[in-house]
């Protein structure tokens, strides 16, 4: 075998979406040598799919907005299970992160005064989402991709090569995070193009691998969303927090089958789109939960007036947090009031002119026209829930994004847990990426300065190499495509939007069975760009994610945000005090409860106590937060 390709860096960033690129920029600007790993080509990460916008309380459209209002909305959206410190940092720093992008060349849509325009979105009290039509994610990723190039050009002027201090390794998969003496020492993986193995020595690894959607049958996620970072972190000894919370976005396409799950942006509702069932009823008025009754309109007239006058009317219920809308659609369809293809109708054609729709929602128009033959300027869309986002993820220290329990390991973006509690508000993800991507970069820079290098041992290399070769050495084993399809079916039908104890138990057994069989996956063909081989590793990651989710979901005996139990339909103030911590012992995932950090007094006092009473126990209310 030819000699192993070896690289040495200060920081290894796994994932080249918003969080990874923002972390890389920060680490490079702190003077470190940085490698960026992406599974796809540079600039294709799932961040490009984000449509609606990035939430930041800049107050450009309504100057009543500020970080405290944003913080409150985020906590409400997450049903108060959020790590308060993450939600606080996010709300405070989001505006600076957006303005910073502008200094790197981003071009957001403008207000009449020439400021960055902001749009309405579910769960946000004021228009808050900075956007570019409905392709905000593309703008974010392109801006940061071009910022990386700018940093490379700067290095090129000073050093021998543009890639001397920051380099993108595209189409490369990491299969192991390596540790020596209990600390991170690097990572091991293979080039997707050739199958050749690569070793990265690095004292810090920032995981920014995004989500897990491909574990499910109907998802808005691309093939990359296979929970790689979640699984890598688990295997490296980190914890995953609250893995039962998955966001089913209420509006995915449902027809034709080929496009089932593809996202229909929440901006359609933000711009005035209404949801109706097969009887023509605007059904969302029936589904306003008690905790939100004071801020959502209970009749059509008021809801419609809100689009013109937000100060004197309550919001339309189509703009409830995503978990509420997804459950409502699910209920309507199950009750037989769904559309022909098992969705409901979303119509924006009656409120906006064709010209305005094409301007504000250009990619939605395009997507429906080209893929479904539907002209959304004239007719309604058929939509239904699709697995979109995981709130759970690597347990981190909020200020530094350091993974708890593994020195040298950091996590930011969707792969990190805590920020969004039990449900994420739309628009909070793009700013989450920026705020915590940057913090992870700073955290890693501090760590490198205080710790220095940590060489990789030959034994670690050998073990990692052995794992990559294994599927080629097995003949006639299981087919990775077939096992993946089986897992998706189990996750979709047993760990999906509505759950019960018996189904979750069934799922845990079935996942364990698939995992056992996956140890016997064999692949046909050679190492060169072989998707069957690639899937074998992705599958292993998805199985660990699914096991964590199913086990956490079985333990949580309540319904909250992105976790709905048919057998425990209510929200319990006792359960709100508990985070679930998943860890891996080498054989299986174990889940235990851990006390949720208590809201400090100064944040507790930002809320009306009567609102907190809906979520907290009387003892917590009496205590009034921690001092």
């Amino acid at each position: 075998m030819s000699e192993l390709e070896r690289h040495s860096y200060d920081v290894l960033v796994i994932g080249a979406g918003g969080a990874g690129l923002r972390a890389a920029v920060e680490a490079r600007e702190a003077g470190l040598r940085v490698a960026i790993i992406c599974k796809s080509l540079f600039g294709k990460a799932h961040t490009v799919m984000a449509e609606g916008g990035a939430a930041a309380s800049m107050g450009n459209v309504n100057d009543n907005d500020n970080w405290m209002v944003h913080f409150r909305d985020t906590m409400r959206g997450g049903k108060f299970l959020n790590h308060y410190r993450m939600a606080e940092l996010h709300a405070k720093e989001a505006p600076d992160r957006i303005w910073e992008l502008e200094t790197w060349g981003a071009l957001f849509d403008r207000t009449k005064e020439g400021k960055i325009s902001q749009r309405n979105f579910g769960g946000h009290e004021y228009p808050r989402l900075a956007h570019v039509g409905d392709r905000t994610g593309l703008e974010l990723i392109r801006t940061m991709q071009q910022k990386i190039v700018a940093l490379q050009q700067k290095d090129g002027a000073q050093y021998a090569s543009m890639e001397s201090n920051i380099k993108v390794f595209a189409e490369l998969t990491i299969t192991d995070i390596l540790k020596e003496n209990g600390k991170v020492s690097g990572a091991y993986g293979y080039w997707r193009e050739t199958g050749a193995e690569v070793l990265f020595g690095a004292p810090t690894v920032i995981i920014a691998t995004g989500g897990v959607g491909k574990t499910f049958k109907v998802t808005s996620n691309s093939w990359e969303g296979t929970g790689d970072g979640h699984a890598l972190a688990l295997k490296a000894g980190a914890n995953l927090v609250d893995m039962e919370f998955l966001q089913f976005h209420p509006t995915g396409m449902v027809w034709p089958p080929s496009v089932r799950g593809i996202l229909v942006t929440e901006s359609v509702r933000g711009e005035g789109g209404v949801l109706t069932n097969s009887l023509g009823e605007r059904f969302m008025f029936k589904y306003i939960p008690d905790v939100f009754k004071s801020i959502y309109a209970d009749n059509e007239a008021e809801a419609d007036r809100w689009y013109e006058d937000q100060d004197n009317n309550r919001r339309p219920p189509e703009l409830l947090p995503r978990d509420e809308v997804a459950r409502a659609i699910n209920t309507e369809v199950k009750a037989g009031r769904g559309s022909e293809h098992g969705g409901v109708f979303l119509d924006v054609s009656k409120r906006l002119s064709a010209e305005v729709i094409k301007k504000r929602l250009p990619s939605m128009w395009h997507q429906f026209f080209e893929l479904a033959g539907v002209d959304i300027t004239k007719e309604p869309m058929e939509v239904g829930p699709t697995c979109h986002y995981i709130m759970g993820g690597v347990e981190v220290e909020p200020d530094t994004a350091a993974a708890i329990g593994v020195p040298g390991l950091f996590a930011a973006g969707e792969v990190a847990g805590g920020m969004h509690g039990s449900n994420r508000l739309g628009g909070n993800s793009l700013t989450d990426l920026l705020v915590f991507g940057r913090r992870a970069g700073i955290g890693a820079a501090h760590y490198v300065k205080n710790n220095g290098k940590n060489p990789v041992s030959d034994a670690a290399i050998e073990a990692a190499a052995q794992k990559i070769q294994a599927p080629f050495d097995r003949a006639g084993g299981e087919n990775s495509y077939a096992l993946h399809a089986e897992l998706q079916e189990v996750a979709h039908s047993l760990v999906g939007i509505i759950r019960t104890a018996s189904e979750l138990e069934d799922a845990i057994t079935k996942i364990a069975d698939i995992r056992k069989r996956s140890a016997n996956v064999s692949v046909s063909g050679g190492r060169k760009f072989n998707p069957g081989f690639h899937l074998a590793f992705d599958l292993d990651n998805m199985l660990l994610v699914a096991e964590s989710t199913a086990k956490s979901a079985l333990q949580r005996q309540e319904s909250r945000g992105g976790h709905t139990r048919d057998d425990f339909p209510g929200m319990s103030n006792k359960w709100r005090q508990i985070n679930h911590i998943a860890s891996f012992n080498g054989t299986q995932v174990n889940v235990r409860g851990q006390a949720l950090p208590v809201l400090p007094k100064e944040l507790f006092d930002l809320f009306d106590v009567h609102e907190l009473e809906k979520y907290m126990t009387p003892e917590e209310i009496t205590k009034g937060g921690s001092i």
Partner: protein, 253 residues
């Protein structure tokens, strides 16, 4: 309604390869990428194809379908006749890696050659004020999803490897135009360097790039011609030419 279709797929690598015929099921509403995936899952486990979002937003699944550069995720199977064989081949302008996957690193190298956006030194974050109408010109070009179909179809490089060194291609002409039209960018002479260093002059406006753009960006009219006209203006206007020589005004702004 499911039906069986004939698919002809190019399989091979940089050393050798050939078209292979397969018969595969296609369901109502499916796109070419769906049937390629079905072939992959059931008949050719190691068939190489790039894709990501499957919604026309990431520009990964670029290939040539019946000879035309297209995104496989946005090409309906139903667009072809019942009896018609659909032939899928890799992008012709780039070196083959395996099957439908090509080495597109040319584009990333060119991206590194375009000078980055230069923000005004005295403009603090949050202080920028721009009119919607002024940002829209650049926004059109920032819709680009980097599928590189325009690069693939451009005859300057499609069959002329030797031109690649001195020609950035349509994708990067719109990148330069985007920066040139950016209301805040402070770097001067972008049009001039487009002409002198990035090969703008080699384009003879056949508009093939505009035709294949899945984002419907008016690459030729709004970027290439717009820049060429300004370059010509300045180069051949005797007063401006003299001005540029005596250093009283910038040659091309």
């Amino acid at each position: 309604m499911a039906r069986m279709i004939n698919l002809r797929i190019w399989r091979g690598d940089s050393t050798d390869g050939a078209l292979q015929d397969v018969v595969v099921e296609a369901n109502e509403g499916e796109v070419v990428l769906d049937v390629i995936h079905r072939v992959q899952a059931t008949q050719m486990g190691d068939l190489a194809v790039r894709w990501n979002c499957k919604a026309g937003k990431c520009g990964s699944c670029s290939m040539e379908i019946n000879g035309k550069p297209r995104l496989a995720c946005m090409t309906q199977v139903a667009a072809y006749g019942d009896e018609e064989t659909i032939t899928v081949t890799p992008l012709r302008a780039f070196p083959i890696i395996k099957d439908l996957v090509t080495d597109v690193s040319f584009n990333y190298k060119k991206a590194m050659e375009i000078p980055a956006y230069a923000h005004p030194d005295d403009l603090a974050p949050g202080d920028a004020r721009m009119g919607q109408i002024d940002v829209e010109r650049s926004q059109e070009f920032r819709k680009c999803i980097e599928c590189f179909l325009c690069q693939d179809v451009c005859h300057v490089v499609r069959d002329h490897e030797e031109n690649k060194k001195s020609f950035a291609g349509p994708r990067f002409f719109i990148r330069i135009a985007e920066l040139d039209m950016h209301p805040l960018d402070t770097l001067k002479n972008r049009k001039k360097t487009a002409q002198e260093e990035h090969g703008l002059g080699m384009c003879n406006i056949t508009k093939c790039c505009t035709e294949v753009c899945p984002e419907h960006i008016s690459i030729t009219d709004n970027a290439i011609i717009a820049m060429k006209e300004r370059v010509v203006d300045i180069k051949y206007d005797p007063v401006r030419w003299l001005g540029s020589k005596i250093g009283k005004r910038e040659g091309i702004v």
